[in-house]
């Protein structure tokens, strides 16, 4: 191995009651792409927070060497000063500001007391060229897609003369094209001598781009693998990550054929007044009892909007068309009525609009169905704890107690809380929007198993997913959505990744 640019030695970081990192050692060679993989809660993000100074020196034990020198970062500013930049899953750009303002935010180019805007724009243009992004630097960030925003974050880091770039789940919100683009950029940066650490759950990408892979599990370094030789496989990584081998992550089930139609949507269109355009055009589809229907398509194709327009239309679209639930024509004006009729919707963005992070596990689980544990509007607190404990054990939610704040749980466990909440409304139709985004293999498997159990009990599921293997592994039938229309329906036997992609880009 060539000279390490970064060495973290025997890092131990404890939180009250949890050892998040236990004697972790981590070496990154100069000029390589080093991927950090592991299940949620394995300690990847904690390790990067220790490195970047979010957890200041002294709050952990162990040693950090960067560029051959011992570092004692007390804040992110300290780590930025030596050339470490970290880009989080949730982008830290300010939507209302322009691209160039964002790139130099906190690092303004000054002349005297004022900002030199001409120089700023010039240097921003250069930074954008480095990431091969062809946008006007005066564009407001809110007018750009997530993929481009991601590149702007990188341009921002590059403008600060970064030596070590850390990316936390950079592709989790990107479609395939943008992901490809980003990975290509990382390789280019490597040519220019930028070292890169990437945290990712997408093992294919990891294998495609990594020089070295370090696996963490339960706060410990499991192994560091040289990926250049091409001998590392996905199966191997999964085995290291979970400590067991998962042959087939999609559980097998009897595909029972019921002809009973639970949901029928007919000539369904929606107009979004805030965007001023039609977002759903003449959509017709149906879901049968005990069936998993996959909704495939690219990001932004209108799948989430379709789900929301069915689920009580909280965003106030103007909706046209017929909706029949269990044989009864329905018209939901509010999620409340959709829930009462037996529909549940697990959102794509669990932190943004799925969970109340400052409330505890039990409050989140019971929120959508408080009636069940209340009499004349008064909540039975003991019954509430009982309900929460039931879901905690049946869904295997890892939390010290049901009184724990949901914001303190890992992504996979948050998703389980979200599922528990919607299972508690005891729906006939469960809409899952990207149910396994950003969660680890072990939790994924648990969620797939749960979905299988639910359909076997007679529930119907609509699963929106951008991951084609998931669509193919779990669905009974697949609808493909593209630009607000359904462009195809495939029984699972006829569905292949190629056919779906073809219809999705139609």
């Amino acid at each position: 191995m060539s000279t390490p640019i970064l060495e973290m030695r025997n890092i131990t970081k404890e939180f009250p009651g949890v050892k998040a990192l236990n004697n972790v050692s981590f070496r990154v060679a100069a000029g390589e792409i080093h991927c950090l993989v592991g299940e949620n809660g394995a300690g990847k993000s904690t390790l990067m927070k220790v490195l970047s100074g979010v957890y200041p020196h002294g709050s952990y034990s162990g040693e950090i060497l960067f560029g051959g020198q011992v570092q004692t970062f007390r804040s992110i500013r300290d780590s930025e000063r030596v050339g470490i930049a970290i880009i989080y899953q949730e982008l830290a750009l300010i939507p209302e500001m322009t691209v160039y303002e964002n790139i130099f935010l906190g690092n303004e180019i000054k002349r005297g007391l004022t900002i030199d805007w001409n120089e700023t724009i010039k240097r921003a243009t250069q930074a954008l060229q480095k990431v091969r992004l062809d946008v006007n630097p005066a564009t407001k960030v809110k007018d750009l897609g997530v993929g481009k925003q991601q590149l702007i974050e990188i341009a921002k880091a590059l403008s600060r003369d970064v030596k070590l770039l850390i990316l936390d789940e950079p592709t989790s919100a990107l479609n395939e094209d943008d992901s490809e683009n980003l990975l290509r950029l990382l390789r280019e940066l490597r040519e220019h001598g930028v070292t890169c650490i990437m945290i990712s759950h997408k093992l294919k990408e990891v294998l495609a781009v990594a020089d070295t892979i370090t696996v963490l599990r339960d706060g410990q370094t499991i192994c560091t693998l040289d990926a250049r030789a091409g001998q590392v496989t996905e199966g191997m990584l999964i085995k290291h990550m979970v400590g067991r081998e998962i042959d087939n992550i999609y559980p097998r089930r009897e595909r029972r054929r019921s002809e009973e139609v639970v949901l029928e949507v007919d000539h369904w269109s929606a107009y979004d007044p805030s965007l001023g355009r039609t977002i759903l055009k003449d959509i017709s589809f149906h879901v049968k009892k005990g069936e998993i229907v996959g909704l495939a398509g690219l990001m932004g194709s209108g799948r989430t909007e379709l789900a929301l327009s069915i689920f009580g239309n909280p965003d106030g679209y103007r909706v046209n068309g017929r909706l029949t639930l269990k044989g009864r024509p329905c018209h939901f004006r509010h999620p409340q009525s959709a829930i009462a009729a037996g529909v549940a919707y697990v959102t794509e963005d669990r932190k943004g609009d799925g969970l109340i992070l400052i409330q505890d596990v039990k409050q989140n689980i019971t929120l959508a169905n408080l009636r069940e544990i209340a009499r004349r509007g008064v909540i039975n607190g003991n019954a509430e704890v009982k309900v929460a404990e039931d879901y905690r054990s049946s869904l295997n939610i890892k939390t010290p107690s049901v009184e724990q704040r949901v914001g303190n749980l890992s992504g996979g466990n948050q998703q389980k809380v979200s599922l528990g909440k919607w299972l508690f409304v005891k729906p006939d139709l469960l809409i899952l929007d990207e149910p396994t985004r950003g969660i680890d293999v072990g939790a994924k498997y648990e969620i797939y198993t749960l979905m299988t159990r639910l359909v076997e009990q007679g529930m119907s599921i609509i699963m929106i997913s951008s991951e084609l293997p998931e669509i193919l592994g779990m669905s009974d039938r697949v609808y493909i959505v593209s630009s607000g229309r359904i462009t195809g329906e495939l029984p699972i036997e006829e569905a292949t990744q190629e056919r779906i992609m073809q219809l999705a880009t139609n």
Partner: protein, 415 residues
């Protein structure tokens, strides 16, 4: 009770450790009470005990009442991520309307000479209507609450000046109305009995009843928890807790009984607090309010109607503003052109001192009441000490800042 007996007998040292643990876990909850206690203790020492005298405490509570009820309503408004700046002058305006409604037409033009029992409900209804108007602006038209209620602040200020322009101060002569902030509940025994002369017996009896209710309630609660098989406080700590709460209640009752007994203000504020605490902590409505504050999008997708919640919270605020106006007018037996000035900011300060989070979703009604009492105690204590009013403001500023620093620090530690 067998499960209690099965618990291992705890040694003395583990008892202390347990107490420490329970206190540490709940420091945020008890912090405000501790602060109030410390402030009261300091003033008791610096005023040679005058501060804690029955008479002073009784006065203190009667003076704090009209801010305390506003702080309760403001808690909910801030919890759902809004603010209401209009409550001060709304309360002043409604107080003036009450005074006019009760006034003799021969003395005050437009006076209706209505009795208090008719005026009070009518004013409360007007308060709810004012809340409806604010809620309409905020929930239906999407105007930020800060702006909508700033308009209300201006509007009600103008309205107050308009109705008091000709007469200036309107004197209230209705005895029943004035008793609300100056009177006390009657006693069932004459004051000069052989046992406990000069002590208000009905207050003592009510205090004893309250203690019995608390003890029975706590024991029932614990039994129910055990029936569900949940972990409960160990027996010794539970007993300690119940004794502590009972002793505190007994102490407060004793102080109250020493000077005319319970005032009507105490009765009103206590009722408001008990009702609001129950609604916020035990009911579906309360849970929905906190859900909207914690994450409006998630609440909406969980079937909570945000509009309805906004209406409920602003209407409650309007009603409590009316109540505050009534208490204030009653306290001074008159309505003035400046009544209600800055009440909104005092209520907001009380809520923040009481641990309400400016970001929404967090904050308890009880906390805000304690916050109001902290502010009231500071005024009362410093007045007794003869401290200059300008210094009083500076001390209050420091306390407000310290309370929020404490809040932020404990919240960070909890993460």
């Amino acid at each position: 009770m067998s499960s209690v007996a099965d618990l291992p007998k705890a040694g003395a040292s583990s008892f202390v450790a347990n107490v420490q643990k329970v206190l540490q876990q709940n420091i945020r909850e008890y912090g405000m009470f501790v602060a109030l206690f410390v402030i009261m203790a300091i003033f008791t020492i610096t005023t040679n005990g005058i501060f804690i005298s029955s008479r002073n405490i009784s006065n203190l509570i009667n003076q704090t009442g009209y801010i305390a009820v506003l702080a309760v309503g403001m808690t909910l408004v801030i919890v759902i991520r809004h603010i209401d700046l209009s409550v001060g002058f709304l309360s002043g305006f409604l107080g003036a309307l009450a005074a006019i409604a009760m006034a003799d037409p021969k003395v005050i033009e437009g006076g209706l000479h209505l009795p208090a029992f008719a005026v009070i409900p009518a004013i409360l209804v007007l308060g709810v209507l004012a809340g409806l108007l604010t809620a309409f602006l905020v929930a239906n038209l999407g105007i930020p609450a800060f702006v909508a209620t700033l308009a209300g602040w201006l509007g009600y200020r103008g309205a107050l000046q308009l109705v008091t322009a000709k007469t200036g101060t309107i004197i209230i002569t209705d005895e029943a109305f004035n008793a609300l902030s100056n009177g006390f509940i009657p006693d069932i025994f004459p004051p000069d009995t052989a046992v406990l002369p000069g002590v208000h017996k009905l207050t003592l009896i009510l205090g004893a009843l309250a203690i019995i209710l608390i003890v029975v309630g706590q024991i029932n609660d614990r039994r129910k928890k055990q029936a569900y098989g949940f972990e409960v406080l160990s027996t010794d700590i539970f007993v300690l807790k119940v004794i502590f709460i009972s002793a505190l209640t007994a102490g407060i009752t004793w102080i109250m009984a020493g000077y005319n007994g319970l005032s009507w203000t105490v009765v009103i504020v206590l009722t408001v607090v008990i009702v609001y605490d129950f609604v916020t902590s035990q009911t579906v409505l309360g849970r929905h309010i906190y859900a909207v504050g914690g994450n409006p999008e998630a609440a909406q997708l969980s079937g909570v109607n945000i509009k309805t919640i906004t209406y409920v919270v602003f209407c409650s605020m309007g009603m409590l503003s009316a109540l505050s106006g009534i208490l204030y007018a009653s306290r001074f037996k008159s309505a003035t052109t400046t009544a209600g000035n800055l009440f909104e900011l005092e209520a907001i300060a009380a809520a923040f001192i009481g641990g309400v989070s400016p970001a929404g979703g967090i904050g308890k009604v009880i906390g805000s009441i304690v916050g109001a009492l902290v502010m009231g105690s500071l005024s009362s204590g410093m007045n007794l000490m003869g401290i200059d009013i300008s210094l009083q403001y500076i001390v209050k500023a420091a306390v407000l800042a310290a309370a929020v620093i404490f809040d932020v620090a404990t919240r960070r530690a909890a993460k």
